[in-house]
Amino acid sequence: MINGIWLTLIVLGVLTGIATGTSAAVTTAAIESANRAVNICLGFIGIMTMWSGLMKIAESAGLTRWLAKLFAPAARLLFPSVPDDHPALAAITMSLAANLLGMGNAATPLSLKAMEELASLNEERDVPSDAMCTFVAISTAGITLVPTTVIAIRTQYNSYNPAEVVMPIILMNVLATFVAILADRFFSRVSRGH
């Protein structure tokens, strides 16, 4: 499916560029997007290195096992294939907590750490496990308790109540997370066939 989307975006974009005379903009977009992607990854190096180091300390100190145990009841439901005291559960807990608190980019390295831990449990090298898909599905729903960016924008444009959207946003977040988990459960049975 990702192949199809990729091809569609590129071919439709290039054809539209030719048809509407925006090919120069298409060229610039291709080059600039590539640069931006690399810059984002380079920006990850520092913080990723820092978290990897800290997580190693947390692991040696037994902190990750303790966190994993704390999260175990929920994890048994969401990630039945992950053993109860595995560091993956600690990484997932930390990532979800950071996302809930609206850490944004600071949360990403924690999520990537969780993916690495889950990958270490995966028997296949190039096909993601059910647990990895579930974790990604939950993350794409993007649950947050404090939508800081939107509140900031609304304040900037003189809203008389910038935070009035918070409750609807949390409701929608919870709903989207439920849909993501249900869809993941449903489609994971279907996609196991491939």
Partner: protein, 180 residues
Amino acid sequence: MLIKAVTFASNLVIPLMIAAICVAGYIKKVKIYETFIEGAKDGFAVAVRLIPFLVGMFVAIGIFRESGALSILTQILSPVSGQLGMPSELLPLALIRPLSGTGALEVTIDLIRKFGPDSVIGRMASTMQASSETTIYVITVYFGAVGIKKTRHSLIAGLLADLVAFLSSVAIWRIITTFS
């Protein structure tokens, strides 16, 4: 007041996490500095492993957006989304939200500026923006970090969650404005 308290707490989380990990390590007699360095070696590899995945996705999205194909798609889909109850002003946001985080933010700011933050469109846009993630970015980055190219059903599950979040964001403000 509540927002200030929550922001204050949020700002404390990362520093406290760092300190707690180091103190716990020290108490448990872990050689914290050596252990940190040993673990930190992996961080670089993860960030670099991401590069090809993110470049591939950003280039495709950049081409699609800047060529004008995205606005044409918006026009084509506008009657369909109208049937589902979504105002046509919000369709560009719904289309770009899963693809590009900065792109969606630009569209949201534009809508709030044009219609006002307290208008129905402004409220709906705020809710749509914050109630979902940049699905394609998340999938690319998360799987890219572990070097996995096959994504199984992740995309369809993520996009379905987005669609439900968008349609209900519109619906909830319809309900709120009707009853107030």
